[in-house]
Amino acid sequence: MIDVAFGLARRQITVLFKNPSLFLPPMLFPLMNFMAFAGGLSRLRHVPGFEFRSGYTAFTFVFVLLQSAMFGGVFAGFGIARDFEYGFGRRLLVSAPHRSGIIVGYAISAMARWALIAGVLTVVALAFGMRIGGNGVELFGMYGLALIANVIGLLWACGVAMRFRSVQAGPLMQTPVFLLLFLSPVYVPLALLQGWIHAVARLNPVTLLLEAGRGLIDGRPTELAGAFVVAIGLVLLFAVWARTGLARAERAG
């Protein structure tokens, strides 16, 4: 299984670096969002009740980091769908002795790609003057949480890609993730949301990840246990979703 996983991950990463058109959009979108949010919306920190010690740049950075992680996974799902649409997936199924390694391989390549994006995003955020209140361990926790979000995004998209085996399933992969992300407290803390969006955001698991991440960067950890439990629960849930998707692809031949 390890051989399959690393072999596939190596291939995916090579394909990625040889095709800038595949690599650039997942890199550019979070950067553009970060610039737009941190630059254009920083006045929101003056809204009565907005309390975040590390400033609006750090506040928005955590959202963009999580967004890049989840969408990094979804973009990797596009690659899986393309592989199956063009026949590479079938050859992979024939040649892989342990087929679960296929999912692991895609996940490793998605994590490697996101690690690069997260690095660039962090450098840009620091260049923008982002203040960090948390210590090294807390930052490690924040990036760890985002890494788990990346795996969640990948497993969700992988399950969809293997069921439909066509890049036309792209909107189905990204729309639910987009909605989950934007139905959380993106621009202001949860307490400042009003109306139905507050009720929805309270039930949204992404809110928990976001609040925990923001607490970690601010040096005031909050909701940590809940966030990690929910994140790992989602990984397990979507691992089953991806594995049953793989079984569906196997049956389709």
Binding site: S21, L24, P25, L28, F29, M32, N33, M35, A36, A38, G39, G40, L41, S42, R43, L44, H46, V47, P48, F50, Q168, P171, F178, L179, F182, L183, P185, V186, Y187, V188, L192, L193, Q194, G195, W196, I197
Partner: protein, 258 residues
């Protein structure tokens, strides 16, 4: 002149039918701005508590964004369709017929303009149903539709230029993030005077998209603001003119090559 009109009509009809026959092409551009409108108008409602914010309804403030985002999608549709025509050799075959370049360009954006008009009607209807009051009245609502269609035409023409320049659908798609970036660094989320970060305020002021947004916004929030309308219409017409010129030049080059 009559022949030119006939040619434009034929190509525009083809473009419209082609767009209408591919739901995958027009459903996302129609629904995605709506989703963002619903989510952001609620998520950013707290901004209305900022001193100096021009309205108590963030939806009324944010509605121009939907028109602009829809227009950006129109650029992708017009460009991708033309790129496909380049790719499949349709443009080469067309070059053997008496069809004029002007007819091809104006007709090709038919699909984008048709979709832009439909989107504008839907967004405006939803805004009115959601309780948005148009300060400029019925005439203002009509002018919003006119400006929205013109903006879609402008970005659609820009899409044609990019398609003719790159000759590939991927080329057109890959410019989408750059065009979207223009939208992001505009005054879409906050009025320019409330943007706190200096460099962002400068970029938003230099960005023509800010003035297109502010023209529509002025009709919704203020009423008849001559300066905002002049700037909005001026930049939109300039976008159409410049894009048409660039596209016509590129079309001549591409025809000469083939």
């Amino acid at each position: 002149m009559r022949a030119l009109g006939y040619q434009i009509g034929l190509i525009a009809r083809r473009s419209l039918i082609r767009t209408a026959r591919q739901p995958g092409t027009w459903i996302p551009p129609l629904t995605f701005p709506l989703m963002l409108m619903v989510v952001n108008s609620n998520g950013l409602r707290a901004a209305t508590h900022l001193p100096g914010f021009p309205t108590k309804s963030f939806l009324a403030f944010f509605i121009p964004f939907s028109f602009l985002q829809g227009a950006l999608f129109a650029s992708g549709i017009a460009g991708t369709d033309l790129a496909r025509d380049v790719d499949t050799g349709f443009l080469n075959r067309l070059a053997l017929t008496p069809v004029r370049g002007a007819a091809l360009l104006i007709g090709q954006i038919g699909g984008a303009v048709g979709l832009g008009s439909f989107q504008a009607l839907v967004y405006l209807a939803i805004a009115l149903l959601a309780g948005v009051h148009i300060a400029a009245g019925a005439g203002g609502a009509l002018l919003i539709l006119v400006l929205a269609v013109l903006v879609a035409t402008g970005f659609g023409t820009l899409g044609l230029f990019i398609a003719l320049k790159t000759g590939s659908g991927e080329g057109v798609q890959s410019t989408f993030p750059l065009l979207f970036f223009l939208l992001l660094i505009s005054s879409m989320n906050l009025p320019r005077n409330l943007i706190e970060v200096g460099w962002f305020r400068v970029l938003a002021t230099l960005n023509p998209v800010s003035y297109m947004i502010e023209a529509i916004r002025s009709l919704v929030l203020v009423g008849w603001d001559a300066q905002a309308l002049a700037l909005g219409f001026g930049f939109t017409l300039a976008l159409i003119g410049i894009s048409l010129l660039l596209a016509a030049r590129q079309l001549r080059i591409r025809m000469a090559r083939t």
